[in-house]
């Protein structure tokens, strides 16, 4: 590389409604690597960005939840393909941000891509596993089937910036929900890159909205927001998590509690993160002749 070349210092933006706007507040913050060296500037989202993100997510919900489960799976798989192409960039960002060795960072990225594929595969199997044909005492069929909850706010894990993010975002999308995500504050760059991946894949704009910034600042607004149907508190802990859970009760949101400590994201996730954001719809149908 030419030593005289000036490096291009990056100021990233939000990913909101399929576009990349600056924060409405105009704020940015410096992102540093694990040793404190400057990496890039990231947008510092405000409550109004969160509000706009909810509007975008609500607008996108009809189309995304109405798509066939098979189609959702195809679209999500395509995201994994694009991630694979960007694997080197992800690995670099994860290594810098989380202070991992190149090998371990690459392993985390591979695990994240595999996790995404895993959730993409679940879209059209959820109904078979979680739905049922119910025994009823009459000349009827009774069916139960899972349906998406709606707009889900996701406070992404603070430490595991890519694998953790994918592990909380994937299950929300697989069920047919749309998401407003607040990334890890310390290490937002993999989330920013994931936004670029989503923008260049087939996921409709607004299905995922990625905000970089402080979950403690924006989280309460999302927890109280009457148009948010569920909230995943993975990136919070302690009193803040308690507080968010309390304010979410005002609008009877589905709340996925934070674990006491950030879990080991490499473990098999099972269905535990998908079912909280699915509603069971039961229908009765008269039996044919």
């Amino acid at each position: 590389m030419n030593a005289d070349r000036l490096t291009v210092r990056k100021t990233y933006k939000l990913y909101l409604g399929g576009a990349f706007p600056r924060s409405e507040s105009g704020r940015t913050y410096e992102v540093t690597d694990a040793k404190g060296h400057f990496l890039a500037n990231a947008a510092w989202a405000s409550r109004k960005d969160a509000r706009d993100a909810v509007v975008a997510a609500r607008a996108a919900f009809g189309k995304w939840s109405g798509a066939t489960a098979y189609n959702r799976g195809q679209v999500l798989y395509r995201v994994a393909e694009v991630m694979e192409g960007r694997a080197a960039q992800f690995a670099e960002e994860v290594a810098a941000g989380e202070g991992l060795s190149a090998t371990r960072a690459r392993a985390a990225v591979d695990a994240a891509i595999d996790r995404w594929v895993w959730y993409a595969g679940w879209t059209d199997k959820l109904a078979a596993v979680l739905g049922s044909s119910n025994p009823v005492a009459g000349p009827y069929f009774g069916f139960s089937m899972p349906e998406p909850t709606g707009v889900v706010a996701v406070l992404a894990p603070q430490r595991s910036s890519l694998l953790g993010l994918v592990s909380v975002l994937g299950p929300v999308l697989a069920g047919g929900n749309t998401a407003v995500v607040i990334s890890s504050k310390q290490c937002p760059l993999p989330a920013v890159t994931l936004g670029e991946v989503l923008a260049t894949s087939d996921v409709p704009g607004g299905v995922v909205n990625l905000l970089t910034g402080d979950a403690a600042e924006i989280g309460p607004w999302l927890a109280e927001h009457a148009d948010v149907d569920g909230i995943d508190l993975a990136g919070t802990s302690g009193p803040l998590a308690m507080e968010l859970e309390r304010s979410a009760a005002g609008t009877v949101k589905r709340v996925l509690r934070a674990a006491a400590e950030e879990p080991d994201w490499t473990a098999d996730p099972g269905l535990a993160r998908m079912t909280p954001f699915l509603e069971t719809k039961s229908v009765w149908h008269p039996m044919g002749v």
Binding site: R58, W221, E224, H225, A226, D227, V228, G250
Partner: protein, 340 residues
């Protein structure tokens, strides 16, 4: 050659015998002939489009927060002409709209009611009945809305029908074809005739007349200013931007030009005319920008439902969501307002 432009207009031949009512002083002579009227309208100062846009952009950056915002939201709600103008309108839909007009936010009794409900003429009676005793006006669109392409007789019958149905306000469309072809006196005469048709049977005064200019079809701001003056001289009580069926509808520069026209008209004649932007105003932010523009260009005299209205349907829901946000401290959602 006087009268030349009217050879194809059968009405023009019979105009000789019946003089038009004269506009207000000092403009009583501008309609004495086609040529004089054209000279007057084309003699109005031109509008600097770039300047108008720049001015509205600046006004749009005013920061309206907390108590001022609460006041603006309530004022805007009280100025809304809650509108439904669809082919699929039913009496039931009009009644539910009337219920919403009365009590826009059923959870909050401090929320003001809207100014009027705006419907097609055949449903004016339904709206009138549903709004009885509330003080909310019934507005009806008439004169072959939205295109205005019908004979004079049909347009006038349309107006009389709506007035007989109980409409307090008539929203008429001007003949844009005649306006763009330069037959200004025809357009003038038609507004005068419609105003006459607004007279209620039995001598109980007359319905307020709002004149829709359909600015999206007039193309230039110069035309908007001319049409505004034409409508005011002909006796319109309100000038209204658009039908809502044509895009672009109400834009801030268009509204600015119209506001300045009503201000200049009042200065010249002492007679105040209202303004109603309609179509395309969907968010609280848009509505607040309009209020700011009124206050900073023509003054607070127009900041009342008597002199300023928003023709809108989805705007009201956004105003209500913002109002709920101010009241409760958290963001509300579309599940908390009615689906129209």
């Amino acid at each position: 050659m006087p009268g030349m432009t009217h050879v194809l207009d059968p009405d023009a031949l019979s105009r000789e015998g019946r003089p038009l009512p004269e506009p207000l002083e000092p403009f009583s002579d501008v309609t004495r002939s086609d040529a004089a009227f054209r000279a007057f309208l084309h003699g109005l100062p031109g509008v600097d489009q770039v300047g108008a846009e720049a001015r509205t952009n600046v006004l749009g950056t005013r920061s309206i927060k907390t108590t001022a915002k609460a006041w603006a939201i309530d004022t805007a709600i009280s100025m809304v002409d809650l509108t439904t103008l669809e082919g699929s309108d039913t009496p039931g839909k009009v009644r539910s709209l009337a219920a919403k007009a009365r009590r826009p936010d059923p959870e909050d009794l401090t929320c003001p009611s809207v100014a009027a409900v705006c419907v097609y003429g055949d449903l004016a009676g339904v709206a009138k009945e549903a709004l009885a005793g509330t003080g909310i006006h019934t507005a009806a669109v008439a004169t072959a809305f939205p295109s205005g392409r019908a004979s004079r007789a049909v347009k006038l019958a349309d107006v009389r029908d709506a007035v007989a149905g109980g409409a307090d306000e008539i929203d008429m469309v001007i003949d844009r074809g005649a306006f763009l072809a330069g037959r200004y006196l025809d357009v003038f005469e038609e507004i005068v005739a419609v105003k006459e048709a607004c007279r209620r049977p039995g001598g109980q005064g007359r319905a307020h007349l709002k004149v829709i200019l359909e600015t999206g079809e007039l193309v230039t701001l110069d035309n908007v200013r001319r049409a505004s003056w034409l409508a005011m001289l002909a006796g319109g009580n309100f000038i209204k931007t658009s039908t809502g069926k044509i895009s672009p509808a109400a834009t801030l520069p268009v509204c600015l030009v119209m506001l300045k026209a009503v201000r200049d008209f009042r200065t010249a004649t002492g007679h105040q005319v209202g303004v109603k932007p309609a179509g395309g105003i969907r968010t609280t932010k848009d509505a607040v920008k309009h209020l700011v523009m009124i206050n900073e260009t023509v003054g607070a005299d127009w900041l009342s439902p008597d002199w300023f209205r928003f023709g809108a349907s989805s705007l009201l829901n956004d105003l209500l969501l913002q109002r709920q946000k101010l009241r409760t401290g958290h963001y509300s959602g579309p599940d908390h307002v009615s689906v129209d």
